[in-house]
């Protein structure tokens, strides 16, 4: 029967397409159902295009400071539209890349919206597809507005990252609500393209889930380059007009009005669990809206699995990709190594970058762990001085008794690349001593990791 597959995956984002490829590698016939472009939010309106725009922003700021490095670039002119077009090409290339991978692995791609049906079936339009072994739900998430305070996304003055990624020009003024990774990155991008940015966060500090020292470093850096940062702020009301939005913001005991050309909503995401037939198949969701899964990623309905954002936090592409690999191996009867959800790196690609893994110092305190913090600032690192990337630090939290790396936090240039040394260390349970024992090339930013490890042992060399 033509419409029968071993595995059917609903959603072709990072979790879904990786699951599809692994499934095909394991010899299972596989279909992916995708209503939009392959690659999902990540490739098309998330991770990938924002990284392209951030690099444009980085070049702009680099050129502005070029004179100090002996390079005259003249007056630096920026054009968001051109940067946007380039980011679209990057996204399209990546999406085509996923298409190619589907073909290469002989995976059937069905275009359309799939609805689950009992008996491991999925309906797309009038066609029905049947999975012999598993239906994998990987429908992802989307941005959400705050209609309760008047800030429903209207795609002109109240926008989300979905629209920001397609703007022809940068707005003159922009308020960003939410200073998590998305808010931080867009604040960085638009600020570099000449927008006056106000960054508003409800929790007491920006990057509220990172280590407080990281939040402080970024707040300082942003303020220095003219981004207004308002943390611990409550947006009481938003009043969108034709070409502006007025916000009433309460912070530090006072209420003030902020008038901006546009508001970018970056306060959380909603999972895509509606209208896909979950209830009809007995797939339950938790109070928080995520699909309930067991440690084998199976939902409450046997034969139906969930991965990626819909299966619960952290809502990160790399977490979903790993679940995609694991779930298909489980379905194929293999015994994959259990996913360590406590060892998923978290990265914000603003400048300076913020990367972390494991516990923050605040969490160590809450959990009453006996820990020692080792720190090393990039201002004391030779390579960073050479490239002028002296902002930030490496901080390692180690268990006092055994030296286990409880958490690591990096603020600085290339933090997103440096963090993986600590991810490998934690995955393999290396202690700070093994990290320090590995010889680090000189001069590199990564030396700061070894120095922070040494500092936690009370024997830092370069400081």
């Amino acid at each position: 029967m033509a419409n029968q597959f071993d595995v059917i995956i609903l959603g072709g984002g990072p979790a879904g397409y990786v699951a599809a490829i692994r499934s095909a590698q394991l010899g299972m016939s596989t279909a992916v159902i995708e209503k939009d472009k392959l690659g999902g939010v990540c490739v098309n309106i998330g991770c990938i295009p924002t990284k392209a725009l951030l690099h444009s922003a980085y070049i702009a700021s680099l050129l502005r400071d070029a004179k100090e490095f002996g390079v005259e670039a003249g007056a630096v002119k920026t054009d968001y539209g051109v940067a946007m077009q380039r980011s679209r090409r990057v996204s399209d290339q990546n999406s085509k890349g996923v298409e190619f991978l589907m073909k290469k692995n002989k995976i059937t791609v069905v275009k359309g919206s799939g609805v689950l049906q009992p008996g491991r079936k999925v309906k797309v339009g009038s066609d029905s597809y049947e999975a012999k072994r598993a239906v994998i739900i990987a429908t992802g998430s989307r941005v959400k507005g705050l209609p309760q305070i008047g800030l429903e996304i209207n795609k002109t003055t109240v926008i989300s990252s979905d629209e920001a990624l397609f703007l022809e020009k940068a707005p003159a003024t922009l308020a960003i609500i939410g200073a998590g990774a998305v808010g931080m990155e867009f604040a960085n991008i638009f600020s570099a393209f000449g927008t006056t940015v106000t960054l508003i966060e409800a929790l007491p500090r920006i990057l509220p889930f990172e280590d407080a020292e990281a939040s402080d470093a970024l707040a300082k850096s942003y303020k220095k380059r003219g981004i207004e940062v308002i943390a611990g702020a409550k947006v009481k009301k938003g009043t969108p007009a034709k070409d502006k939005v007025t916000l009433e913001v309460e912070a530090n005991g006072a209420t003030r009005k902020i008038e901006v050309a546009a508001v970018l909503m970056a306060a959380g995401r909603a999972v895509n669990t509606e209208n896909i037939g979950l209830a009809e198949c007995g797939v339950q969701v938790s109070e928080r809206g995520f699909i309930k899964v067991d440690p084998g990623l199976q939902t409450t309905a046997p034969g139906y699995y969930a991965i990626g954002d819909v299966a619960g936090p952290p809502m990160l592409a790399h977490k979903g990709m790993r679940e995609g690999v694991n779930v298909t191996e489980l379905v194929a009867g293999k015994k994959p190594h259990a996913i360590r959800y406590d060892n998923v790196p978290s990265v914000t690609y603003c400048h300076p970058e913020v990367a972390s893994i494991g516990l923050t110092e605040e969490q160590c305190k809450e959990q009453k762990l006996e820990y020692v913090a080792g720190r090393f600032p990039f201002s004391a690192n030779g390579r960073a001085r050479g490239t002028g990337e002296t902002e930030g630090f490496v901080k390692i939290l180690r268990d006092k008794k055994y030296g286990e790396i409880l958490g690591a936090h990096i603020v600085g240039g290339h933090a997103s690349e440096i963090i993986h040394e600590l991810a490998v260390a934690r995955e393999n349970e290396y202690t700070v001593e093994e990290v320090e024992l590995a010889i680090h090339a000189h001069p590199t930013m990564s030396e700061a990791v070894a120095q922070a490890a040494l500092d936690s042992l009370g024997r830092v060399v370069d400081m």
């Binding site: 309930k292 440690p295 084998g296 409450t300 619960g312 009867g333 190594h337 259990a338 959800y341 055994y402």
Partner: protein, 417 residues
């Protein structure tokens, strides 16, 4: 089949507490399962009806196999376990990640196991696990690793490494209770019977070859006059009345612990590249259990009153025999005592429990003719034999300890010195 201890590779279903068709609630005991260490409860992880029992009593199945199916009332889950859809081996960890419960029987709950001993070379273990094992005196060779390729990682040691000071005092009574479960069949036609090793026998076998083989044992025996100790015990018991009874074993445990505080050289662990001399005394007490033995620990035995020692010893022995000891209750001892007095054994040598450096073998108290002041008189006598690890304890060191212990038992007031 849940992994109820990290060393558990298979479990024997001892007894079903629920029958097919019974309603079950999450948290209720479904069955008893014999692991390599103990008989433990297999807990239901979901509400529902026990739809199908896939393993019969007495059957041994590998960890990860389906033992039963719990279904929602009225639900029919995969008509038979054998033809159930694709297998879903649950990875380690347990429970729902994001709330809720579901139809699943086996979610592994990392418990623990492992017995003391030093670090082990040649074992796949993470650097962190090695450090923890070294500190906690866990022999990595005896721990089943749950990491890639069987690598021992931190979670395999988490419960094991319950530090002595953190654990609530637990203890033992040198216990009677012989292992006599292999029945002698009436004459049958077969010349022999092959009985597969039980989980506990496998562990004992593994443990003991790491002791008598590699550990250079030597033995010291001393005969102790127990007349004064017996008088003291009678007097104490008269005074205690209904409040409890002090046994000879309690007195021997207490005296051993006190003697160890005066001979730290014998209260030590051999740790390959160093010797750890303990400042605390945690006495392991060999307890015979059906088809094996286990050594629960009386923590800080030197600091405890006799009655408390007796009480703990009894509790722990009971727990050991019903095989409900928690790992923290049988790991971390600094010295051990093995008492076979109740079996009328005059004297014997015990095998050291690594990484400990010594063990005391206690024989039976028996009246003997003894020359006192030129007269032959009957006296109650006890033979103590100490096994020493020569890498830690030399002959004179061991003799000095034994002499202090003998002094305390022959003159119980010396314990107050």
């Amino acid at each position: 089949m849940e992994a109820l201890s990290p060393t558990m590779e298979e479990g024997r279903l001892v007894k079903w507490h629920k029958q097919e068709g019974d309603a079950v609630k999450a948290g209720e005991t479904l069955a008893e399962v014999e692991t390599d260490k103990a008989v433990m409860d297999l807990i239901a992880r979901a509400d529902g009806v026990l739809q199908q029992v896939a393993v019969t009593e007495g059957q041994t199945v590998p960890v990860g196999n389906v033992v039963a199916v719990i279904a929602a009332p009225g639900e029919t889950v995969g008509a038979s376990v054998a033809s159930a859809p694709p297998p879903t081996p649950a990875p380690s960890g347990g429970g729902m990640r994001d709330a809720g419960s579901m139809v699943a029987v086996a979610t592994p709950k990392p418990a623990t196991a492992a017995a003391p001993a030093g670090d082990a070379g040649g074992v796949k273990a993470s650097p962190l696990a090695r450090r923890i094992a070294k500190e906690a005196g866990v022999d990595l060779k005896l721990v089943t690793g749950s990491g890639p390729g069987g690598r021992v990682v931190k979670r395999d040691l988490d419960a094991t490494a319950a530090r002595p000071q953190a654990a609530t005092p637990a203890a033992v009574a040198a216990a009677p209770h012989p292992a006599s479960r292999i029945p002698h069949p009436a004459v049958t036609g077969t010349p022999f019977e092959d009985v597969p090793l039980t989980q506990i026998r496998k562990t004992i076998a593994k443990r003991l070859v790491t002791s008598l083989g590699p550990v250079p044992h030597f033995f010291l025996t001393s005969e102790v006059d127990m007349e004064r100790a017996a008088e003291a015990r009678d007097a104490l018991n008269r005074q205690l009345g209904d409040r409890g009874k002090v046994s000879f074993n309690d007195i021997i445990v207490k005296a051993t612990a006190l003697a160890l505080t005066k001979h730290r050289a014998c209260n030590a662990w051999f740790q390959e590249d160093h010797i750890r001399y303990w400042n605390e005394v945690h006495l392991g007490m060999a307890v015979a259990v059906e088809d094996g033995l286990i050594t629960p620990v009386i923590r800080n035995a030197d600091l405890k009153p006799l009655l408390e020692i007796g009480h703990e010893a009894k509790q722990l022995a009971d727990k050991a025999r019903s095989r409900r000891l928690q790992p923290s209750e049988y790991t971390g001892s600094t010295f051990s005592v093995s008492n076979l007095g109740m079996f009328d054994i005059d004297q014997f040598t015990a095998v050291i429990n690594p990484p400990e450096a010594g063990i005391l073998a206690v024989g039976t108290i028996t009246p003997k003719p003894v020359v006192v002041d030129g007269q032959v008189v009957p006296r109650r006598r006890l033979r103590l034999t100490m096994s020493c690890d020569h890498r830690v304890i030399d002959g004179a060191t061991g003799a000095a300890f034994l002499s202090t212990l003998k002094g305390m038992l022959e003159n119980p007031l010396a314990m107050l010195l």
